[in-house]
Symmetry: D2
Subunit: 371 residues, 4 copies
């Protein structure tokens, strides 16, 4: 397992879908930060199942408890342990699947990797694992906002074959995004997406989608060449999400079709002492380092593998069977993925920021005292 991410702001998650609970330990949080559970709960609530009839009916309050690292409402700089207890775990729901690995789920691969598999549900591969990430990432979001004014906004830019208009140059506010349960960038396309989800659910099927995220307010200089370039670190973080199949920054795959003269972001005068770029096909990153423009990326999520329709597959002995899924699942994960994408990106950005702070501080000292 590799359940830890980050170098200076380091998050370790734990927990399976049907055990006692899920959570995270956040090591390296800045000290003296005002923090309590109310800072974490909003993003957990946005991630929570059962928010609308677009999502799984599993009911979980998902109330987070801070077990350590905070005293009298201030962080101590010590590890912050976060715990969300599982309440509505129903192991029985999955009993019949023990011998039938679900297609495009992780049942088979976990069994082959570990020689054992959680008896019910997705275990560690469940989307429930993301709770620890979201709780931890909500702390990172707060730090980024207070220390740098960085704001992250994600939304559903596509669901199935429905694509929303591009809003990367003019990102909607979170409140605006949350106005519709699809979390699309505008009411009209959100409504069409919702119809696509409803049609899939009706057909006992599921659909995939794309989440677009924009981070504004980064100063130039974040991102660590060469293996932890900002886009590489973001790519790792986002591709580690359940069901993620693709990641692109800035122009992405479409950019590969362009010519250099079309793609290059010419510089323009920026705020005093800085340069801006006329366009932002770079997605806010050049050479793996933030350039001061908004960081823009997109994440593709496949359709949820659990569907109500019968599937012809084989059991662990290779014998043909027809699988009909029980359990409670989302016909479309992307609305709930929105806060997960935001918080995962926040983890990466804060870690990059801290590393650059160390560099800036020491280089400044050398310049001041040194040769």
């Amino acid at each position: 397992m590799s359940s830890t991410i980050g170098t200076l702001f380091r998050v370790t998650t734990f927990g399976e879908s049907h055990g006692l609970g899920v959570g995270a330990v956040v090591d390296g949080c800045p000290p003296r930060l005002a923090l309590d559970e109310s800072d974490l709960q909003p993003q957990l609530d946005r991630r929570r199942p059962g928010q609308s009839d677009l999502a799984t009916p599993r009911r979980e309050a998902d109330r987070v408890a801070i077990l350590s690292g905070v005293e009298n409402g201030r962080t101590l700089g010590t590890p912050i342990a976060l715990l969300v207890r599982n309440r509505d775990a129903r192991p029985g729901d999955y009993g019949s699947m023990a011998r039938i690995p679900r297609p495009s789920h992780a049942d088979y691969t976990y069994l082959r990797k570990y020689g054992i598999h959680a008896a019910s549900g997705g275990g560690r591969s469940s989307a429930r694992e993301t709770i620890g990430r979201v709780a931890a990432g909500a702390i990172a979001e707060k730090v980024l906002r207070l220390a740098y004014g960085v704001e992250l906004t994600a939304w559903v830019s596509a669901a199935g074959e429905v694509e929303a208009p591009d809003r990367t140059a003019d990102p909607p506010a979170r409140a605006e995004i949350d106005r519709h349960p699809m979390r699309g960038p505008d009411p009209e396309s959100a409504e069409r997406m919702a119809a696509a989800v409803a049609a899939a659910r009706e057909a006992r099927d599921s659909i995939g989608g794309v989440v677009t995220c924009v981070a504004r307010g980064l100063p130039p200089g974040w991102g660590e060449p060469v293996f932890e370039k900002l886009e590489a670190a973001l790519g790792q973080a986002l591709l580690s999400l359940p069901a993620a199949k693709g990641f692109e920054i800035g122009s992405g795959f479409a950019g590969a079709r362009l010519r250099g003269s079309e793609h290059n972001d010419a510089f323009a005068a920026g705020a005093p002492g800085t340069l801006a770029t006329a366009a932002n096909r770079s997605g806010g990153v050049q050479g793996g380092i933030s350039n001061g423009q908004p960081v823009v990326f997109r994440v593709a999520f496949k359709p949820p593998a659990t569907i109500g329709r019968p599937q012809a597959t084989v059991d662990l002995d290779g014998r043909p069977v027809t699988l009909e899924a029980a359990g409670r699942h989302d016909p479309c994960v992307v609305p709930r993925a929105v806060p997960i994408v935001e918080t995962m990106a926040a983890l990466v950005l804060l870690d990059s920021a801290l590393r650059q702070e160390a560099r800036d501080a020491i280089a400044g000292r050398i310049a001041e005292h040194g040769a």
Copy 2:
């Protein structure tokens, strides 16, 4: 900087485009492996500039020397230091750019991050930095081939607007790919791609492209949930390449448009004791773990930022200037990116393999001796 990648097979790269040399230190290479420079040179030769008139005319023999870790043609298990000396460095070529950050290059961001920038060329952000990666990855490729029979094959699947037919289900051999300097999967599309590159060069412009890679022969069980899932680790590695803007595994962004019933990979009986999947929209990975099917991914590269056409931009003081690039550069990087993609993937796969070996070995011991 973050110039190290990997946990058990760990590679640290160094070097700028116009310094004394570039290279890598490989820590964790298995001992007793037959190894000498001739194992590394072929992939370096495929990466080398000046192979055809499709690429930069910079002339570098790029001969690698093994400085440590190998004795009498066998690895000792100790760090293998690899060095390629720069020969055709011409710092003067870039002198005029000192005050004009090149659009969509890393000049500006390096300057803002480090407060200093290599006086000439891309410095650390140059594609020359990938030499160390390729040399190190060639070792990983050899280990993967000998120990597991894993074979990696990449090719140019798109250049500009030209797309090659899909060959992921039936990957061409390396020799076949190398038959045409475009490294496309078939002669006809390669020719059309080459025409697109030629047209761009003619226009003193550049074009982007896509590299597709298939890794065959992986057993089930590689990849470390949750933050180093195989697709996350591959995504980080590939997105850390210069000019990379997107990564997708299996169905990728196209998969987001599908329904679950269309996307799911039903299981079928496989080799004794294993299951296969009928289709491979998962790209060989489920829940972040290899399932025994070929691992299939694609990487999008933007068009090279250096173009001969004049560009309207600003200098570091924000004053409008017209930039006309000198220096020697590729109109299209993707043919040379092919070995880089293969070797970067090899680094990730071998690291994942080693981690799974440790798990398997100890679990086996417990089962044998333990409760």
Copy 3:
């Protein structure tokens, strides 16, 4: 903070002395291991305060709960979260110290490092932080025992000026050690140590001591040159314990006084295919790698800083004050340090073992299939 240790068997601890609880997340535990709380409780009980009148009267049942990673009594290979709730926290006890940093405690340094300090008790610097280590290390001990037959035994070899006879060549069993609350290696010296502790307590003072540890059953080959040599990794782990001031392996500081001809461990024929050494001044390690002999090391612990005697010191403003400690503390920590030393060593040994398993496995595959 840096609350994570280990590369493949990775432990992250959390918790302060007077918060909601303390614990750890263990990532990389082998799957399919039989495990429940009863495997962890014995070492926690040996570490627990209030075992005898030699130790602090603070009462804590210190019952551990496994929150994740185990199902139906078997590990899943996923992170194991361990939690011990604090029950007998009495923040009020320490209120008067807010402005007076306790001499040789971490109050002042935590305040200078973090700009904030837990309002009561030692916070993160409390010996209570070691609970997570012990719980995690007890898992490592079980794996080492089942997979390799490795047994770790530690005891109090000195308390204050009382030294016990050397038992490193013939280590006592745990049951024998636990027969006396001092955890000395023999009844007679244990009794003299206990008298020294009693005298210190009588004088409202404290005394230090030394814990000796022997690990038997390691095969040759564990330990990762050069920066994680076995003695370096053990040294880090043991010196990270509260109050630890020194670490030595094998002959240690005394060895520095010897000549090479006196110090060298000549080889002798060992079990078939192996060599033994006549003496063991190397402490089971040569060149940072286990040689198959028992690993022997010693850890020095300073006397507890909290004493009942009045101390002349200054407050945070530099004004002279006389400090009289309240709170409940051990006059001598070394008996309770015994299980902590054993479990910390187990963490290091298991991590080293796993890394060597990966190396052996892949080198074996190459030899089998390869050139």
Copy 4:
């Protein structure tokens, strides 16, 4: 192998005693630092063999070359590759030992770990491996001096049974230390140590010794609880040196004999805004964090294992043999260990400093802009 140390200032070493060369890659060096080879050579010269007849007669100029990361005498913030070529390698010297593992050397353990061993000399376990450490650490020393005014001084405080007077409260200057080839703290004891070394050499034997190191000028706040406490990180770094058998900080093992009332470092008013301590039995560290007092530690080195006297041992088949060593070796390593100890400590201190800079910077931003 684990040839990398550090989190933000990260050093990777490579090279065997009789290969092409040894060196290091330094990642995370602050940018814009004035640096060239002349900054590194003095400590390499102090480490070099053949400085006096107290040391091995092997002749190596040990001239370091900077291959990357520096341009026009300034660091770029990119990896600095350092290479020292081996010149006086004489593999033949060791040929006769192939089947006889040298007692208390790493021949046997390397063979068991890797299944292969460098054909001559110590290979990776040779003291020659420390060249990369020293070159890298010399950079760290320069940064610490310029940025913080931190000065490290080490000396030989014991050789064999000869102990020098304690100078930890009043450390000698480097020039003073280098006045005598023994690098003792005063001429009289240095002379007695030299006599002990001469007597050992005369007897074709060797002796061990102790190096004491003091780092002055650290601000309070360096060191990362809990697993990378300053003494734990220093302990790891120093115990990773060839022949190191013990490490103690402050009072060390002697402190274990004291009572708390004798051991505690009462606070006293310090420079404005800080506290000092009257004594320094803590060795400058409390709770794993620097307290602003000098950091004081000692490292025990065993006598070199290579001696000219015949040794009764066994060969790899367990057959009794008498070994008479050839090769060129030091009768006493500690004078040459002095710069190694200083530079290793510098690596640890700078890494700790950088991590604290990141914390301070972000906490400052939050306090400024935040709640």
